[in-house]
C-alpha cells in the first residue's frame, strides 16, 4: 500500500499526536493580514466558520426575540411592526448568511481538498474572493439593521416588497452579493472535484461527502443566477417603476413567486445535500462499518440535484392554476425517493455495526430521526388537499425547521465536531459535547413539534398576535427555544474549552480512511508531504485503536 502514512509526517501523527509547535496551517504565519488575505483553503474555511457562526448567533438572537414576543398573546416585548422585522431578519440571516454557506463554505473548504489529497482548491483566489463577497453581503445586511430593518419576510414577496417603506433595497443587494459568493464557491468545487482527484480516486471511490458537495456546487452554479435576476428585477420595479411584478404596471406578482422559488427550492437542497454528505461520513465511520449502498447514495445526490429544479411550484399551491398545481404535486413526491434511498442506506450501514455513540454520531442519529420527520411531513404539504388547510400555518414552519434545523444544522454540528480535531488540532470534551447535544435535541423538539399541532389547529405563521386558545402551544414552543439556546451556549463553551484546554488531537481520532485522516491534525500548510494515493474511503479494517495515541493507527505504519 502506497500511502502518506509511510512518510515522516504521518508517522509523527500516528505516533502520538501532532503538536501545535510543529509546522501547521494555524501557526505557519501570524497577524490578521496573513488570515484575511490568505489563499490557504483551510484558513479560508476557518474564517468562513467564524463568520457563519457569528451570523448564526445574530439570527439566533432574533429567533429568541420572536419566541419571547410570542410567549403571550398581544404585545409582550415589541409592537407588531418591530416583530415583523425580527422574523424577517431571523429568516434572511439564517438562510443567506448561515445555512447556505454553512457546510459547503466552512466545512467543505477545509475538508474537500484534504479529502482529495490536494494542496488546495482549483482557484484559491476565487475562494478568497468568495469569502470577501460574503463579508460584503453581511455588511449590507447590517446596514439594513441600522437603517430601519426590513419586514417582508425572507422571501421578499411582491407586491408588499415593492411598496413597504422599510430597507428592502440594501438587504436585496446584500443577498445578490451573497449569491456571487455562493456561485464562486460552487464553481471552485466543481473544477476541484473534476481536476484534482488523486491517483486511485475514481468517481465511485470518492468519499460521499465529495459527491454531496459536488451536487451542491452544481445547484449553486445553476440556480443562484436566477435569484440574482429576480432580485434585480425587484429593485428595478421598486426603484425605477419598471412593471414586472406589479399588475398596475402590467406585471404579474405570481411571476415573482415563480422566479423566487425556481432558485429557492433548489436552495433548500443546497442546504440539505451537503448535510447528507456529512451524515454518510459520520454514520459509516462511527458504525465502524463500510457504507451500505455507496452507488445509491452517490447517485441519489445527483438525482436530488436534478429533481430539485422541478418542484418549485409546491411553494405556490394557493396562488397557481389547478393544472400547474397537479403537475407540481406529482413532481414533488418524486424527490422523496432519493431522500428515502439515503435514509435506508444509512440505517443499513448501522445494522450490525459497532456503533460509537460519540458527539458527532449523536448529532448524526438525530439528523436521521429529525430529517425523516421533516421529510414525511413534507409529503403532507405536497398533497394538494392537505396543503390548502395547512398552507401558511405553523405546520409549515415546523416542517421547514425539522428539515433545515433538524436536518442541516444537526448535520453541521455533526460535521463540526467530527472534523473539529482535524481543523483545530484539539480534542473536545465528550461530556460537554453530549450535554450540549441533549439540550439542543430536547429543546429543538420542544420548540417545533408542538408547532405541527398548532398549525393543524389553524395558527397562521408570521402573526404577532393570536387568540387565547393558542397560548399553551406558544408557551411550550418558547420554553423549548430557550433550552435549545442553552444547548448552543454549552456547545460554544465545549469548543472554546477544547481550544484552550483540549488535549492534542491525533491524526485519526475516529478511525476514518478518507485522505484527510492521513495527514496530521491540524494539517501542515501543504496538507500532505506528497500527493497521496486514494483507496476505498470506507474500508476501516486496517485502522486499529491505539490507547497510547488515543486515536486510530494503521497497522504496518
Amino acid at each position: 500500500m502506497s500511502s502518506v502514512g509511510s512518510e515522516p509526517g504521518a508517522r509523527r501523527a500516528t505516533a502520538g499526536g501532532y503538536g501545535l509547535e510543529q509546522d501547521n496551517y494555524l501557526t505557519s504565519s501570524r497577524g490578521i493580514l496573513s488570515w484575511i488575505f490568505t489563499l490557504d483553503h483551510k484558513r479560508i474555511g476557518v474564517m468562513y466558520l467564524i463568520s457563519i457562526l457569528s451570523a448564526f448567533f445574530l439570527g439566533g438572537m432574533f429567533a429568541l426575540l420572536v419566541r419571547l414576543e410570542l410567549i403571550a398573546p398581544g404585545k409582550t416585548i415589541v409592537d407588531a411592526d418591530t416583530y415583523n422585522q425580527f422574523f424577517t431578519l431571523h429568516g434572511a440571516i439564517m438562510i443567506f448568511l448561515f445555512i447556505i454557506p454553512g457546510i459547503p463554505a466552512a466545512l467543505g473548504n477545509v475538508v474537500l481538498p484534504l479529502m482529495l489529497g490536494a494542496r488546495d482548491v482549483a482557484f484559491p483566489r476565487l475562494n478568497l474572493a468568495s469569502w470577501w463577497m460574503w463579508v460584503a453581503g453581511a455588511c449590507l445586511a447590517v446596514v439594513t439593521l441600522l437603517t430601519g430593518g426590513v419586514d417582508t419576510g425572507w422571501t421578499f414577496y411582491t407586491p408588499y416588497s415593492t411598496s413597504t417603506g422599510t430597507s428592502v433595497i440594501p438587504i436585496v443587494t446584500g443577498v445578490f452579493i451573497l449569491g456571487f459568493s455562493s456561485i464562486f464557491t460552487g464553481l471552485n468545487f466543481i473544477v476541484t472535484v473534476h481536476k484534482l482527484r488523486p491517483k486511485g480516486m475514481t468517481w465511485f471511490r470518492m468519499p460521499l461527502f465529495l459527491w454531496a458537495i459536488y451536487g451542491t456546487a452544481v445547484l449553486q452554479v445553476l440556480a443562484t443566477p436566477v435569484l440574482g435576476i429576480t432580485l434585480m428585477l425587484l429593485v428595478a420595479e421598486r426603484a425605477l417603476g419598471v412593471g414586472i411584478f406589479d399588475p398596475a404596471l402590467g406585471g404579474d406578482p405570481v411571476l415573482f413567486q415563480h422566479f423566487f422559488w425556481f432558485y429557492s427550492h433548489p436552495a433548500v437542497y443546497i442546504m440539505i445535500l451537503p448535510a447528507m454528505g456529512v451524515i454518510s461520513e459520520v454514520v459509516s465511520i462511527d458504525s465502524r462499518k463500510h457504507i451500505f449502498g455507496y452507488r445509491f447514495i452517490a447517485l441519489s445526490s445527483v438525482a436530488i440535484a436534478i429533481l430539485s429544479f422541478l418542484v418549485w411550484g409546491h411553494h405556490m399551491f394557493t396562488s397557481m392554476s389547478p393544472l400547474a398545481n397537479m403537475v407540481f404535486s406529482a413532481l414533488t413526491f418524486s424527490v422523496s425517493i432519493p431522500s428515502a434511498i439515503k435514509v435506508f442506506n444509512w440505517l443499513a450501514t448501522m445494522y450490525r455495526g459497532t456503533l460509537v455513540l460519540n458527539t458527532p454520531m449523536l448529532y448524526a442519529l438525530a439528523f436521521i430521526f429529525l430529517f425523516t420527520v421533516g421529510g414525511l411531513t413534507g409529503l403532507f404539504l405536497g398533497m394538494l388537499a392537505v396543503d390548502v388547510h395547512v398552507h401558511d400555518t405553523y405546520f409549515v414552519v415546523a416542517h421547514f425547521h425539522y428539515v433545515m434545523f433538524g436536518g442541516t444544522v444537526m448535520a453541521f454540528l455533526a460535521g463540526l465536531h467530527h472534523w473539529w480535531p482535524k481543523i483545530t488540532g484539539r480534542m473536545f470534551e465528550e461530556k460537554w459535547g453530549k450535554l450540549a447535544f441533549w439540550l439542543v435535541f430536547v429543546g429543538f423538539n420542544t420548540t417545533f413539534f408542538i408547532q405541527f399541532v398548532a398549525g393543524t389547529q389553524g395558527m397562521p405563521r408570521r402573526y404577532w398576535d393570536y387568540p387565547e386558545r393558542f397560548t399553551p402551544y406558544h408557551v411550550i414552543s418558547s420554553i423549548g427555544s430557550f433550552i435549545m439556546a442553552a444547548g448552543f451556549f454549552v456547545s460554544l463553551f465545549c469548543l472554546l474549552h477544547s481550544l484552550m484546554r483540549g488535549r492534542l488531537a491525533p491524526a485519526n481520532p475516529w478511525g476514518g480512511n478518507s485522505l484527510e485522516w492521513w495527514t496530521p491534525s491540524p494539517p501542515p500548510t501543504q496538507n500532505f508531504d506528497r500527493t497521496p494515493e486514494a483507496e476505498d474511503p470506507y474500508d476501516f479494517t486496517e485502522w486499529k485503536y491505539d490507547r497510547q495515541v488515543r486515536g486510530y493507527v494503521r497497522e504496518g505504519v
Binding site: V226, A248, G250, D252, F262, S321, A324
Partner: protein
C-alpha cells in the same frame, strides 16, 4: 484543417484558435440574419412573425456558441452542460407560462395588461 493543426501547435496552451476568415464569415451571416429579423417585421405573417423571429434568434445564438465560443471544437461535455442549462431554462419558462396561461381567465380586469 492544416491551418488548424498549425494553430494547435503554435497555441497549444491557449486552446483552439478559430481562423479569422471563419470568424468574419460568421459575423457576416449574423449581420445578414439581423437584417432578416428587422425585415420580417415589415411583413404581416400573423403568428408566424414571432416564430420566424425566434427561429432566426436561435440560429444566431447557435452560431455564436459554435464558432465565437468554440463549442464546435470543445469537448462534448461542454455541449452537454449547455444543453442541460437550456433544458432547465425551458422547464422554468415553460411551466411558469403554462401556469400564467391557465389563470389568465380568472384575473381581475386590467390585470396583466399595460395601463395608460
Amino acid at each position: 484543417m492544416a491551418a488548424h493543426a498549425t494553430g494547435h501547435a503554435a497555441h497549444g496552451a491557449v486552446g483552439h484558435v478559430v481562423p479569422i476568415r471563419t470568424l468574419v464569415g460568421v459575423l457576416c451571416v449574423l449581420l445578414v440574419l439581423t437584417v432578416g429579423t428587422v425585415g420580417v417585421t415589415k411583413v404581416d405573417l400573423g403568428p408566424l412573425n414571432l416564430l420566424l423571429a425566434l427561429a432566426i434568434a436561435v440560429v444566431k445564438g447557435a452560431l455564436v456558441l459554435l464558432y465565437f465560443m468554440h463549442l464546435r471544437w470543445d469537448r462534448p461535455f461542454n455541449a452537454v452542460v449547455l444543453i442541460s442549462a437550456l433544458v432547465f431554462f425551458m422547464i422554468f419558462v415553460g411551466l411558469a407560462l403554462m401556469d400564467a396561461h391557465n389563470y389568465q381567465s380568472e384575473m381581475i380586469p386590467g390585470y396583466g395588461t399595460l395601463t395608460p
